[in-house]
């Protein structure tokens, strides 16, 4: 089993190396012009030569994504938890959220840009909007998963609403909340980048859009590589935190 697993890991690494090799080989071998496919080495060189600019752009995008992520998570989880304490408001709130959520989130970008300007605030609001939807829905689903009999049991021992929430509902909902948090990492970076494309003072999306306008393919690729690396890092960190917190859930 472990022998096969390590073989699988080796093949995975081999696959990644083959992809890089194929990319480099095709781009160099056919002498493809940069507008079709720049060589991998050229892209990495592009990242290196523009490292200061790209690092600054990545920091800008990550700031937006992290601020929006934190804000959105607080709002989404908070709203879902509040609804379990005030069940009567549930119908109204869920209808309203569903109505707002029926528009694809990125379509709100033009509106938010008009409202909040093209600075940092508009991206933070957009990311928070996207993240709070995801977390509201997954937290609500998680809180609903509680076994009716467990509630009755705890209640029979005199547990109040808050005790039920803290000791039973939240731990039961935790796997779904954390899964929502993990999915939201990628979503927050995507939304930040897409919103930056429409208008910004900086950030990876802005770099990508400018490079498209100037038809600078190596720069588009460089920015995508940096964005992917940032996204992977964010996703990995949240995934690690998830495994730490869900210690009772083996693998």
């Amino acid at each position: 089993m472990t022998a096969h697993k390590s073989l699988a890991v080796q093949r995975g690494i081999l696959g990644a190396l083959l992809l890089i090799g194929l990319w480099e080989g095709v781009a160099r071998g056919f002498a493809l012009p940069a507008y079709v496919l720049p060589a991998m080495s050229d892209v990495l060189l592009g990242v290196w030569s523009k490292r200061a600019m790209l690092a600054e752009a990545a920091a800008y995008t990550l700031t937006e994504a992290l601020l929006g992520y934190g804000l959105g998570a607080l709002v989404g989880i908070g709203l879902a938890v509040a609804l379990t304490l005030v069940p009567r408001a549930r119908g109204v709130v869920v209808t309203a959220v569903t109505a707002v959520n029926s528009v694809p989130v990125v379509a709100y970008s033009p509106l938010i840009l008009l409202w909040c300007g093209i600075g940092l605030a508009s991206k933070v609001v957009m990311v928070a909007l996207a993240v709070s939807f995801t977390l509201f829905l997954s937290t609500l689903a998680g809180l609903d998963r509680v076994d009716r009999r467990s509630i009755d049991l705890m209640r029979s021992f005199g547990a109040g609403r808050l005790a039920l929430l803290w000791r039973l509902r939240l731990p039961t909902a935790l796997p779904l909340i954390l899964a929502g948090l993990r999915v939201s990492t990628v979503r927050s970076i995507i939304v930040a980048i897409v919103t930056e494309m429409l208008g910004a003072y900086g950030g990876l999306g802005w770099v990508i859009y400018q490079a498209v306008l100037q038809i600078d393919f190596v720069q588009v690729w460089s920015a995508i590589v940096v964005a992917s690396a940032a996204s992977l890092l964010f996703f990995g960190l949240v995934g690690l935190a998830e495994r730490r917190l869900l210690f009772w859930k083996a693998s």
């Binding site: 073989l7 699988a8 093949r11 995975g12 081999l14 696959g15 990644a16 083959l18 992809l19 507008y35 079709v36 209808t95 309203a96 569903t98 109505a99 029926s102 528009v103 694809p104 989130v105 990125v106 379509a107 709100y108 970008s109 033009p110 509106l111 840009l113 008009l114 409202w115 990492t185 990628v186 970076i189 995507i190 980048i193 897409v194 494309m197 429409l198 990876l204 999306g205 990508i208 859009y209 490079a211 498209v212 038809i215 393919f217 588009v220 690729w221 920015a223 995508i224 964005a227 992917s228 996204s231 992977l232 996703f235």
Partner: protein
């Protein structure tokens, strides 16, 4: 005759249940519309933030052609990408299932692709294909294709090996095992990805249009933003909501029809 009699009683409550569900949806929709109109008037919200629903509807009715054309264009891009991406995703999953080495070499890359902002590659697609319908369809295609492959493969691999052994012992060919057992078993998991992809492909189409085009909902949004016309933005948002909800509902309907034995939610 007796079979028909036995079949008819559950059908009537089901139809009634469906009518009731639709009635509830319509009631909720009307409530949201009334709340929108009412809250704007009640709190005197400035049109810059939220214009009245009636004003937004009037804007759509003033130039219905532009909105209908945008709706159809974005729907076409989304549908082409979604259908080809879904079909290709399932095909690749089957190929991975058949060839273990290929799977182990390429599948990790697919999983990693789920954690990077693939939509940024949309910029490249637009550069490659120009501002054509194809470019947006390609963006919608790959946004659909990655998650469908991942989920279809998970579904295909979750088939009980004893069921495969049983079918094989009755002389079923690999093709029969695939079409009669493995693909149907993978449907619930595949539809989870398809529902996600329904939203993603629409996002891909709209964002693709931002790189410059002349028709489409994304174009309407962008033009309204440049003109700082909030009523027009809300009008485009409303039409996007119609498209997004309709498309998602169609996929969910297909899911209930095809996965009649009950999907995992």
């Amino acid at each position: 005759m007796s079979a028909a009699l036995a079949a008819s009683p559950p059908a009537a409550p089901r139809a009634a249940g469906l009518a009731r569900r639709i009635g509830l949806r319509v009631a909720a929709l009307l409530a949201v519309a009334l709340a929108w109109e009412g809250l704007v008037i009640l709190f005197g919200i400035r049109p810059f933030y939220l214009p009245r629903l009636s004003a937004v509807l009037a804007a759509i009715l003033a130039t219905p052609g532009a909105y209908a054309a945008g709706f159809l264009r974005t729907l076409t891009e989304t549908l082409i990408g979604f259908v080809t991406g879904g079909a290709f995703g399932v095909a690749v999953a089957v190929a991975f299932l058949r060839c273990r080495t290929l799977r182990e070499m390429v599948f990790p890359l697919f999983v990693v692709s789920q954690t990077i902002p693939v939509i940024a590659f949309g910029a490249l697609v637009v550069l490659w294909f120009g501002n054509t319908l194809m470019a947006k369809a390609v963006i919608a295609f790959y946004l659909t294709f990655f998650p469908v492959t991942v989920n279809a493969l998970i579904g295909l691999e979750s088939v009980d090996p004893r069921q495969i052994a049983l079918m094989r012992s009755f002389g079923a060919s690999p093709r029969q095992i695939l079409t009669r057992l493995q693909l149907p078993s993978a449907l619930p998991q595949t539809f989870v990805a398809l529902r996600l992809a329904a939203s993603l492909s629409l996002v891909g189409a709209i964002v693709g249009e931002w790189f410059g085009d002349t028709t489409g909902l994304g174009v309407l949004l962008l033009q309204a933003m440049y003109n700082e016309n909030v009523v027009a933005i809300w009008a485009a948002l409303l039409v996007s909501a119609l498209l997004g909800t309709g498309f998602y509902a169609a996929v969910a309907f297909l899911e209930r029809r095809l996965v009649f034995w009950g999907a995992e939610q």
